[in-house]
Symmetry: C2
Subunit: 201 residues, 2 copies
DNA sequence: GTCTATAGGTAGATAGAC
DNA sequence: GTCTATCTACCTATAGAC
């Protein structure tokens, strides 16, 4: 251990500044989600956080490392909730998965890092890898595996495609009337389709 | 030898240079599709086309106008083929739409401008508007309207979401095994779902 | 029609003072 | 820990020579 290394993952609490690191992280999430990776600048993050641009480099190193730290939080709900989706009667997995995905997109706290990932994943290899990990790692392993059907992975990915596409058009592209549609109406239409992908012959 | 190429859209037919304009346009499509709007530079386009950067401005004005000219070609197949999708027996519209969308994504000539639009639409309002226009204008009007069902527009958009999401994961994010899946297998799994969105109770 | 030169900005990153 | 100052690199766009 040395006293000056800023390379950290979680956040070993130090006697350091009053939440400066967290303020940068929050601002970074905001900026990345609103503008995507390329259009976001370290200077813009610093300004939004009310700190000096040099501090961003001081705490995180490079812009890419700021991004990784900023979107890391998107994994927390995914990890926690994949249990809730996988558990329960098999014929309800479509609705549970649909509600979960739309839920994290409706919640502003989790929507922000998700927007950051999507806005960045299409143009940035690092972000695309994060996206793949996010979809594949838990969703596939916990939901596709128990299906015990041929093409289980492909099935799960096509179900994910329905939900990813819906999120794209509703939350990113903001296509009407989908963008303003009632949540329950969406669940009613999407859940059977997701269920069909996962379990139908 | 063809004298003046007929490949001109919205440009006053002048006696100008050989294929310089077209070379720029082709290079622009390549660059925008590979890097997205923000990361693509006018200088990069010029270098790929083997011309001077100032010529790009000379022919198109601004970077945004280059982009619009570059993706304009994506509308041609959409306009032409929406007839083929709309015509025919109603219970086959799901498969016809699925085959059409996957078809334009499989064809390198049409995939390139589509990638440019998708890579740019998530971060750029101009590109997002192009995307909305591309989905809404023809697909919705020609396919949703004849359905004569309640929520016809929403139905059509959720069907589009399935196909957009599939394209995202397969062609942009390159998620396996979806990215390498056989085309006919995809049609077999997707067509019934698209059909369900469009016509089922 | 094509290119040189340059204006006028913004970017990521670093060194070193306090 | 925090900030000032700066380096280097690249960008869009334009004016004007050939």
């Amino acid at each position: 251990m040395n006293g000056t290394t800023p390379r950290r993952r979680g956040r070993p609490p130090r006697t350091e500044a009053a939440g400066t690191r967290d303020r940068i992280l929050t601002a970074a999430r905001e900026e990345f989600s609103a503008r995507g990776y390329e259009k976001t600048s370290v200077r813009g993050i610093a300004k939004a956080a009310g700190v000096d641009p040099a501090l961003v480099h001081h705490y995180f190193g490079s812009k890419e490392q700021v991004f990784e730290a900023a979107v890391e939080v998107a994994f927390a709900p995914a990890l926690n909730a994949s249990d809730a989706v996988a558990d329960g009667p098999p014929d309800g997995v479509g609705e549970r998965l649909t509600r979960f995905v739309l839920g994290v997109w409706e919640n502003p706290a989790t929507r922000t890092p998700l927007l950051a990932i999507v806005r960045s994943a299409v143009n940035n290899d690092t972000a695309a890898a994060v996206f793949r990990r996010l979809i594949a790692a838990q969703l596939m392993r916990r939901i596709a595996a128990p299906l015990d059907l041929p093409d289980a992975e492909l099935r799960a990915e096509l179900a994910a495609a329905q939900l990813v596409g819906t999120a794209m058009l509703r939350y990113v592209i903001r296509l009407e009337p989908l963008a303003s549609a009632d949540l329950e109406q969406l669940v009613a239409r999407l859940a059977p389709v997701v269920q069909h992908h996962l379990t139908a012959a």
